[in-house]
């Protein structure tokens, strides 16, 4: 038994963690009378489950070998088994770590819903099922099991999104989410049908050995893109994101944005690199170009739309679109390089993509939890009504600042590391003959634009609510968040700093993933060197030490001199009122006006954001559907005899087909 063999009580840690989650789901239902106990039980057990799952994930990630357990053997459908290999281990670790932090946060956060009269035991039930389904879906090794868990994830998140069902707009947002997620699920079912049809079994282990016709491969790719793309919110399948994320409770938004979107990335990586084995057998270049182009536009449009938003959570939801775009840029570049048989560059691009997945999970959940703290404290989500919170909620402010700096790619935090690795991967492809180098150069320019816009967007997102004067009575009465909420956020913030300062450690640990996906050892070896070349640990150390030194010297010298403090000078207007300071809309105006062409390509007023895509894509589809729908009524006669005839005809056809 190696020390990394995670057997607790003789069972794999994954089973233990599932038991914790199931207990956390059902036990609170028994104590429904006492909300305090329900929430403590529910989230506490979720925390325990997350910690055990994290242990399992890290163990696999570090190469302890896949741990498997099987639920059932279903003959033709394959065996319903779970197994955590290196890639799954990474995602299980991400989900579990974020889940743990959010569970700590939720212990105090759920009180808000108790006050509003919602059932906390139901909340705990849905939350545990949601987390459990996410952890198991990345460990599933069978198509049927995967789809069942995917659906469980979708349904539990739907009920969580619509948890505050008494509020306006919640139900329509939830419905929108439900429809799009099921469109994606249909695409995934079709994809798995093609994959399983070609290999004869629904087990994931049978897919890499099967060979498919090129047309079927293209179909698999498109279906995977639609199915997983709708779940992770790539443009143009993103319209549910800005509707659903704000309506959900903040801890659920953190989980959805931070973790649920990542399961889709897992799915794409697994299909492309795991099942289809594109590193070994090559692939079409247009696949990579399609992913890259979708990523490019999602990243720029996502951050531009967020500049226009003033609802804290909608703003963060748009940023999720942006970051998924950046992840897709890395993934697209990896597929392009794989199709050109350049494994070193493909490994670097895939590493950048996975690293950004990890980082986004960390800082996005941190930011959503911060937004939740603000909403909890001020009952206000609109940043135009906030201000001056840094003095009233200092710890939250510091943690939110760390999250903002991470997402804005400020060195030496984690966002900077993954964005830089993405740049390096793209720039590595510059020596390839045109037109690939031109497409990659265009991607570099788009990524540069995105990165600069993100800095501005987060100066606005942090500066307007936290700095300056309060713009409303709500903001003046804010209080610091309770300890468990701060603890959850602090855990994520520390992880952000660590993920930024130690990229070489993460690269070393990730080598196992690349081995399992078909890369040779030599092509993945350079990842460690590339990560070290960023020198983020040196920069962090120098920054901290230097600031302490310089600050200390300045303070020492300043002690003897007169320090004054007074009102802000505003050209003679005393006192300065909160109306005199910049508003969020005004702050973003120069940028949105300069880049107007991106937002307003149809030159129709207010045709931006979800409205643009609604206008061009979704409304026409809906109208066509509604026009065709009455024709289906021909079959829906309402007479039992007709339906029996349908049954018998179908049965007859199936029998004939089976006999032939």
């Amino acid at each position: 038994m190696t020390p990394l063999d995670m057997n607790i009580l003789g069972q794999p840690a994954l089973i233990v963690s599932s038991l914790f989650f199931l207990a956390g789901a059902f036990l609170p239902l028994l104590s429904a009378r006492n909300p305090r106990i329900s929430s403590f039980l529910g989230f506490g057990l979720a925390l325990a489950g997350s910690i055990t799952a994290l242990a399992a994930g890290i163990a696999s990630f570090l190469g302890a070998g896949p741990q498997a357990f099987t639920l059932a053997e279903l003959g033709q459908l394959g065996s319903l088994s779970f197994s955590i290999d290196a890639l799954s281990g990474l995602f299980v670790s991400i989900i579990a770590f974020v889940g743990a932090a959010v569970s700590i946060y939720s212990i105090s956060y759920a009180d808000e819903y108790r006050e509003k009269g919602y059932s906390l035991s139901r909340f705990a039930f849905l939350y545990n099922i949601f987390l459990l389904s996410m952890i198991l879906v990345v460990a599933a090794q069978n198509a049927v099991l995967f789809l069942v868990l995917w659906e469980a994830m979708a349904l539990s998140s739907f009920f969580l999104v619509t948890f505050e069902h008494k509020e306006e707009g919640v139900k329509s947002a939830g419905f929108n989410y439900l429809v799009i997620t099921h469109v994606g699920a249909v695409a995934l079912i079709l994809m798995f049908l093609i994959l399983a049809g070609g290999s004869g079994s629904a087990d994931f282990s049978s897919f890499p050995q099967a060979s498919y016709a090129p047309l079927l491969l293209d179909a698999v790719f498109v279906l995977a893109l639609v199915g997983f793309g709708s779940k992770c919110g790539i443009i143009p399948l993103h319209i549910w994101l800005p509707l659903a994320h704000p309506q959900a409770p903040s801890n659920v938004s953190a989980l959805m944005s931070g973790v649920m979107l990542k399961t889709a990335i897992y799915g794409l990586v697994r299909v492309l690199f795991g099942f289809l084995g594109i590193v070994g057998s090559g692939t079409e270049m247009w696949w990579g170009v399609a992913i890259l182009v979708l990523g490019m536009f999602s990243s720029v449009l996502g951050v531009l739309y967020s500049l226009l938003e003033h609802d804290m959570k909608r703003l963060l939801a748009m940023h999720s679109i942006e970051n998924i775009g950046i992840i897709f840029i890395g993934l697209g570049a990896a597929v392009i390089f794989a199709s050109l048989k350049l494994p070193e560059l493909a490994a670097l691009a895939l590493f950048a993509c996975l690293y950004h997945t990890l980082n986004h999970a960390l800082f996005k959940s941190l930011l959503f939890l911060g937004a939740g703290s603000i909403a909890h404290s001020t009952h206000e989500r609109n940043i135009e009504e906030l201000g001056g919170l840094a003095k009233l909620m200092p710890v939250t402010a510091v943690l939110f600042l760390l999250g903002s700096a991470s997402i804005a790619a400020i060195p030496p935090l984690n966002g900077f590391v993954s964005e830089l690795l993405t740049f390096e991967a793209l720039l590595g492809g510059v020596s390839i003959p045109a037109p690939v180098s031109l497409i990659l150069s265009l991607a570099v320019l788009f990524l540069a634009l995105t990165s600069a816009l993100a800095v501005g967007a987060f100066v606005k997102a942090f500066g307007i609510p936290f700095l300056g004067l309060p713009r409303s009575p709500h903001a003046m009465k804010a209080k610091e968040a309770p300890a468990s909420m701060l603890a959850g956020m602090a855990l994520l913030a520390l992880a952000c700093i660590a993920a930024g300062a130690f990229p070489a450690v993460i690269a070393q640990a990730a080598l196992g993933i690349f081995d399992s996906l078909g890369f040779t050892a030599s092509s993945s070896f350079q990842l460690v060197a590339a990560s070290e070349g960023l020198q983020t640990s040196t920069i962090l150390l120098a920054l901290v030490l230097g600031s302490v030194l310089v600050g200390g010297v300045a303070w020492l010298f300043g002690r003897g001199r007169r320090q004054e403090s007074g009102d802000t000078w505003a050209c003679g207007f005393i006192p300065v009122t909160s109306r005199m300071q910049y508003s969020a809309a005004g702050f973003a105006m120069p940028v949105t006006r300069s880049l107007n062409v991106w937002l307003d390509p149809l030159s129709k007023p207010a045709a931006y954001g979800s409205k643009l895509f609604n206008y061009t894509i979704y409304t026409p589809i809906t109208l066509v559907y509604q026009a065709l729908a009455p024709y289906s009524r021909i079959f829906q006669t309402g007479k039992l005899s007709d339906y029996l005839v349908y049954l018998m005809v179908t049965l007859g056809l199936v029998l004939i087909y089976a006999l032939l």
Partner: protein, 550 residues
């Protein structure tokens, strides 16, 4: 032991070098500007005295500010200090060997925190400065990455080092126009990044015109000293980038290297002061056009380097074609007719020199004849005709639509313009920034076309770009005369095609083509005079309204 401590010691010395000399650079810039303005100006060491004064004072803070206001100057200062060890100034290998993107991103720490501290005091001006600074950083970043693309294509991306130490020899680089155009683009970007005119006036005291200064209005005492010192050092570091990357700096001796870098930086500082004195601060929404120009220059160098073809033994001709291309791009901004004709004359002069050089190298008599006819027709006759046309037009030749001359009688409809979108100032249908963006796309197209046609030197894509950009100018300019000039620019490109492609055309076709051009100009001028006489304007937007609506 000595070998271990020396790098750390040298790194520390480098920080002292940068921070020690940066106020001198700022002082020199101010002194040169003052002299050019006819004043004696404050002494060159004034910034040192200012820093000493600020460091000795106490701080006066607004009570609205939070911890951000306290930490922003300090962390910004330390981040610039860290950036200063990333450049290979005192030693050929930098002490913290990173690539140029890491170096550039390190400045974003200071920018992020300073922008936040601008919002911290709750004043309007702070927010104004932060918001504008964010706009600038958004516009600068793609341009900067276009330069990074050029560096990546030249192989000099992984560490910050002279391009001459990579694959290419210094002689080849010095003759390659792409090298210098990239340096020019980088210089424009540095002007924007450091907040000098024409992007931002560091000496203004009018808050509504400030960009960077507005963010730091509330800082005082030591905090302000750190901010100013860090800013000066950032200027020095960015100036130092140009000699480090574009000039061959290979000596390992720290004294030689530091003297070289300091010397070139001082020259760049003086050049900046001259540029500042002759330019005005551009309006906020026109900053994007200038930066788009810088991005285009960098992209041009990138594409040139990427195509891998060299000057092919004709460096002077290639440089002249680059000049022609740049003047075509500059045509986008030219608003007066005279300026446009002058640009055309510059192009014709380049053409004459190119033909003369090829005639000298080949010695055929008909080539000399071609030089002569080009000189007479394109450099003398056509510009004279155009200038005369300008003179004989009845009344004023207005390049802007009539209603702009009646601004006080303008109706509310007229005033419903987007102030950030005033194409009419340059007589075009769309903003100059968009024209430059389309030019960029056309240049990429030209490079792709030339690789299909099998061009061996860089001349073919450049000539194709000239033709395509000429066509673009015809399409976007609203004034008939400017469209005519666009046609002439395109024709210049066509004339160069036989040189770019290895085809030998007989001289007769040259002569006939030139003759045709002259006829065309005469016909166009007569048409323009007639239209002007009948309708009263040459603005095609107003002429469009003559079309009957069905």
């Amino acid at each position: 032991m000595a070998a271990d401590t020396t790098p750390a010691f040298l790194a520390f010395l480098q920080i002292i070098f940068i921070f020690g000399f940066s106020p001198f650079i700022v002082g020199l810039m101010r002194k040169v500007k003052a002299r050019l303005q006819g004043r004696s100006g404050s002494p060159i060491i004034q910034p040192y005295l200012d820093l000493a004064k600020l460091l000795s004072k106490g701080e006066s803070k607004s009570s609205t500010t939070s911890f951000i206001f306290v930490i922003a100057p300090i962390v910004g200062f330390v981040s610039v200090a860290i950036a200063s060890v990333m450049l290979p100034i005192l030693s050929p290998v930098s002490f913290l060997a990173v690539n140029i993107i890491v170096f550039a991103y390190l400045f974003s720490i200071g920018r992020f925190l300073t922008a936040l501290s601008g919002l911290d005091a709750g004043s309007s001006f702070g927010g104004l400065g932060s918001s504008r600074e964010m706009l600038y950083s958004v516009l600068i970043e793609p341009a900067l990455f276009a330069v990074v693309l050029f560096l990546a294509a030249s192989g000099g991306f992984n560490v910050i080092a002279p391009l001459a130490s990579g694959g290419m020899a210094w002689e080849a680089l010095a003759l390659s126009p792409a090298h210098w155009i990239a340096a020019l683009g980088l210089f424009i970007i540095i002007l924007a990044e450091t907040g000098r005119l024409p992007f931002d006036n560091p000496a203004t005291h009018l808050e509504l015109t400030m960009v960077h200064e507005a963010m730091i209005l509330e800082n005082s005492g030591p905090g302000l000293a750190f901010v100013e010192w860090a800013h000066a050092s950032k200027i020095f570091l960015l100036f130092a980038l140009i000699p480090i990357i574009f000039l061959p700096l290979s000596s390992p001796d720290p004294i030689m290297r530091s003297v070289f870098v300091l010397g070139v930086s001082l020259l760049l500082a003086m050049l900046t002061a001259v540029v500042e004195s002759i330019s005005v601060k551009v309006r906020l929404f026109k900053v994007g056009e200038l930066l788009m120009l810088a991005m285009l220059l960098a992209l041009l160098s990138f594409l040139t380097t990427l195509s891998g073809t060299g000057a092919g033994g004709a460096p002077v001709e290639t440089a002249l074609v680059f000049v022609m291309l740049l003047s075509s791009l500059y045509f986008v901004f030219s608003a007066t007719f005279n300026r446009s004709v002058e640009l055309y004359m510059i192009q014709s002069a380049c053409l004459v020199i190119i033909f003369a050089l090829s005639a000298l190298s080949e010695g055929a008599p008909d080539l000399y004849f071609r030089v002569g006819t080009t000189f007479i027709l394109k450099f003398l006759l056509i510009p004279v005709m155009l200038f005369n046309l300008f003179r004989v037009m009845p009344g004023e030749v207005k390049l802007l639509p009539t209603r702009f001359y009646n601004v006080f009688r303008a109706t509310k409809e007229d005033l419903r313009l987007n102030l950030d979108f005033d194409p009419l100032f340059t007589g075009s249908y769309v903003t100059p920034a968009r024209i430059l963006a389309y030019s960029g796309i056309l240049i990429v197209l030209a490079f792709l076309l030339s690789s299909i046609l099998g061009g061996t030197t860089i001349m073919l894509p450049l000539v194709l770009s000239l033709i395509l950009i000429g066509m673009l100018i015809i399409a976007v300019k609203t004034n008939l005369l400017l469209q005519l000039l666009g046609f002439l620019l395109m024709e210049n490109g066509v004339v160069l095609l036989p040189i770019a492609l290895p085809i030998q055309l007989p001289f007769v076709s040259d002569a006939v083509a030139l003759f045709d051009v002259v006829i065309l100009i005469i016909v166009a001028m007569l048409l323009a005079l007639k239209i002007r006489g009948t309708v009263g304007t040459l603005d095609t937007k107003e002429l469009d309204e003559l079309i009957e609506k069905r």
